[in-house]
Symmetry: C2
Subunit: 203 residues, 2 copies
């Protein structure tokens, strides 16, 4: 069954507080090492329980990864893609999306980075579901860029390629950003918005 963005997303609410705590702990551990370097016992200890307890809340370790990645990916898209439908110029809307993308990805970096790096550790079915959401986001951005070019606000030679390039730029920030650096994450988000406008050829 193909999922849609309209589906109600009550996963977090319908789960026990313990289960949510386990996922919070796990996503942080997966972020700091990687999925295959973090054992069941490590996750359990960090959550203050024994290994066997995890299997009361989740079917497998992979299901934890799946929940982490699915929810962070789906929720981000559901809450942020509507920016592109706002009643302002193409440039304003794109710049705002970039700004929010960079800021949100950093604020939710444990789940978001895991969702970028560990996709290959999902089962084929789970991977397909996550990729569906990712593709919705990517295609919408590409269409938006193409539309902006069509209406003369952008001058893009290849909207699909530009869209993917922008995504890689934005997604990369979490890998190098350090809070102690020269710029605050909000400043980087702002500057990336301006950079993206150059890239799409704003007039």
């Amino acid at each position: 069954m193909i999922p849609t963005l309209d589906v109600a997303c009550a996963d977090v609410a319908s789960r026990s507080e313990r289960a949510n705590e386990i996922l919070r702990v796990a996503s942080r551990l997966f972020f700091e090492k990687d999925y295959n370097s973090v054992g069941i016992r490590t996750i359990a200890n960090s959550a203050g329980v024994r290994g066997a307890t995890l299997y009361h809340h989740f079917r497998s370790k992979e299901e934890m990864l799946y929940r982490i990645i699915l929810e962070v990916t789906r929720d981000y898209i559901r809450d942020h893609l509507p920016i592109l439908d706002a009643p302002s110029s193409f440039a304003q809307r794109l710049k705002e999306l970039v700004r929010q993308h960079v800021e949100y990805f950093w604020a939710h970096r444990y789940g978001m980075s895991v969702g970028l790096r560990e996709l290959h550790n999902l089962t084929p079915e789970h991977l397909a579901e996550v990729q569906f959401y990712r593709l919705v986001y990517q295609r919408r951005i590409q269409e938006f860029i193409a539309a902006g070019a069509h209406f003369g606000e952008f001058s893009c030679f290849d909207p699909d390629l530009v869209g993917i390039a922008l995504l890689d730029m934005m997604n990369g920030v979490n890998d190098w950003f350090k809070p102690a650096g020269r710029l605050h994450i909000a400043e980087i988000a702002q500057l990336y918005g301006e950079l993206v406008l150059r890239t799409v050829g704003t007039r």
Copy 2:
């Protein structure tokens, strides 16, 4: 001891053909799964030997990863950074670097992608050495962009940020490029060159 780019790089030549074959096999396996998902026995079997044989050629599994990442990183930089010293315009030189970066990274995708993804599985000492080379490349690009802006060919508001954004764009290609797609890698490399010139604000 701080390594330099001037050091002679005879690693591959000084190693037995068997050892090089093991590294070729290992980098491909690390690329397809990930470092921690590929066991010693899998590497050995794929190379046509038993697990214990690997320890005649390398001290540890991590040393294999280190050799793969170090050599591919160092050799790329040594061979391609001189492009920026060519006697042409800033725009021409930058575009050519981008083109070669994208093409080379795809051609050497096993080692290159492993070198981007698996850095955290290196020992602190090995990581520091690899990061030295990566930083040489990044800083040179940032300086080059700043110089291009200084001499009026580019109009960059923040050369350091732009440099890192370009690197993320270029490094991302291997993660989504499919040879069966609409564009050949050489076309993408070409288009990325033009895209980058927009990003740095070529007049």
